[in-house]
Subunit: 317 residues, 2 copies
Amino acid sequence: MLTPSEIKARLRDAAAGVERYLAACLADRGIPARLRASMEYSLNAGGKRVRPVLCLTTAGLFGLPAERVMPFAVAIEMIHTYSLIHDDLPAMDDDDLRRGKPSNHKMFDEATAILAGDGLLTDAFDFMAGVGAGVGVNSGDKCRGTGNGNAAIPAANVLAALRVVARAAGAPGMVGGQALDMEYTGRAGVTLDEMAAMHAMKTGALLRASCLSGALLAGADADAQARIADYGAHIGAAFQIVDDILDEVGDEAEIGKPVGSDAEQGKTTYPSLLGIERSRALARERADAAIERLSPYTGPDADFLRSLASYIVDRAS
Amino acid sequence: MLTPSEIKARLRDAAAGVERYLAACLADRGIPARLRASMEYSLNAGGKRVRPVLCLTTAGLFGLPAERVMPFAVAIEMIHTYSLIHDDLPAMDDDDLRRGKPSNHKMFDEATAILAGDGLLTDAFDFMAGVGAGVGVNSGDKCRGTGNGNAAIPAANVLAALRVVARAAGAPGMVGGQALDMEYTGRAGVTLDEMAAMHAMKTGALLRASCLSGALLAGADADAQARIADYGAHIGAAFQIVDDILDEVGDEAEIGKPVGSDAEQGKTTYPSLLGIERSRALARERADAAIERLSPYTGPDADFLRSLASYIVDRAS
C-alpha cells in the first residue's frame, strides 16, 4: 500500500497529465469563441480529476497505455464538468461559487452555461468514439491522439465502454440521481435505501463507469469486468459517505465549503440516518470490499487502486 | 418523382413507425418517474420525425433494413427533442408553447426540463451504441432491437456514424449554432455568410448527420458518403430558407406560430437580406443541388429522398 502522501503525489501527477490534454482539447473544433471560453473556464477550473485517472489506471491494469486512452478518459471529465455546470444553475442548486470561483452562469450567463454543459456532454461522445478503430470521417483534428490505425482501440471495445458511460451518465444514472436528489431534498422520511440508491445513481454510477470503461477498452474478460465494476461501485459509495461525514465534521478551509450545508438544505445524509461512527464504519467496509475485489491483481496500477480506496476513507477533504 | 400527397403519406407512415418505437423506448430503464414523464412528454409531442426518417431512408438506400437502424434513428430524434426543450427554457428563447402545447418547463418545471434534456441527449448515445456489434454489457433491455449478434451492425460503422452525430449535435454544430443565434439576435449588420454559417450549425448539421449516419451504418463507400452528406447539407439549407420565408408570408394556422415572429425578435433572415423572391430561388437551387447529388441512385428510397427535397421547398408549413 502507498502512503497517503505517495497517493496524493500519484494523483497529482496523473491529474497533471489529464490537465495538459484538457487545456488544448477544445481548440480547432470550430466552437464559437464565447461558448468555447465558457466550456474551457469550467473544464480548467481544477478538481482532483479522479474519474479520468480511474479510467486510465484500470486500462493500464489490463495493459492498455494511458496515451491511447487519454481522449476517452478526458471525455469522462467533460461529462463530470457539464454535470457541475448544470447542477449549479439557478433552477437547480443555485450555487454562485464552485471551487471558490464564480460558477459558470455567474461568470458568463445562464444561457451560455446551459449551452456549455450541453456542448461538453455532446462533445465528450465524439472524444470517446474517436479512440476507436475504423473512424474514417471527421478524424483529422489534433485532439484525438490515435492518428494511426494500429494504435486505435478495437471498435467493439470502444462501443461497449462508451455505452457503459452513457448509461451511467444518463437518465438511468447521474441525471436521474440529480432528479431524485432534488425530489428528496427537504422531504422528511427518506430511507437509507432510497438515499443509497439515489447516490448510486448521482455519483456512484459515473465513478463505476470510469473504472469499468478502462477495463472494457483494454479488452478485460468478464470476471475482470465484474471485479472492476464492483471496485468502482464500492469506492463510489465510500466516497459519498465520507463526503456526507466531512460536510458535518470537516474543516471548512480544507473541504472548501461551509460545514453543515447538507443539513441546512434539508438533505438526508448518512450521518443524519446512522450517526458519524456507524457512517465511518460503513465507509471503511465499502473500501475494504473494493480492495478485496482487486485480490487477483498485482503491480503499480493495482497498488494505486487499492491505496486509493483507503485514501478515500481517510481523506480530510 | 412522388406527388406531394404521396410524399406526405410516406412521411406519415415512416413517422408512425418511429413513433411506435419512441412510445416504449424509455420503459424498463430505471428512470425516476417524474423525469421519465417529462422526457416522454416532449418525445411524444408530435413533429414530422424528418431526422429519423432520413436516417432510416439513407440506410435503406444502401441495403440496411429499417428495423436494424431504428434505435439509432430514434436517438437522433431524442437529440432533436432535447434541443427543443433547452431552446424553450426561460434563459434561452423563453417559449411557453411548443407545437401548441405547454413547453416542457411550463408543463413540469425548469429543473426537470433541464434534466429531461440532459437525459434525452445522454441516453441517445446509449441507443446509438446499442445497434453495434460486440456490446456485451447492459444489453439486456427490450429497447435495442438487435438482440442477436448476427443482426448487429459492425462496430466500426456504428462508431463512425455516432461520431458524425456527436460532432453535428455538439459545440462545433447545433449547440454552437444556438449560441451564435442568440448572439446575432437583435444585432444589426449580420451578414448573409454569418447567418448561413449559423444555420448550417444550428439546423443543417444534424439534418446532414441524419442522412450521413444512415449511409455510414450501412457501410456506404466514400463517394456515396460524400454524396449523401452533400444531399443532407443542401436540404438542410433549403429547409431553413423556406422556414424563414414561411415566417414572413406563411399561413399562421398551417405553420402553427405567429407570422412575423423572426422580425419581432430581431432575427436576421433570408427574406430580410435577400427579399422573398431571391430567397425562394435560393431554396430551389439548394433542393436541385441535393437532387443532383443523388443521380447515381434508383429505387423507392432514392425517389423518396429526391421528392422530399422538392417537397421541402414547396411546402406550406
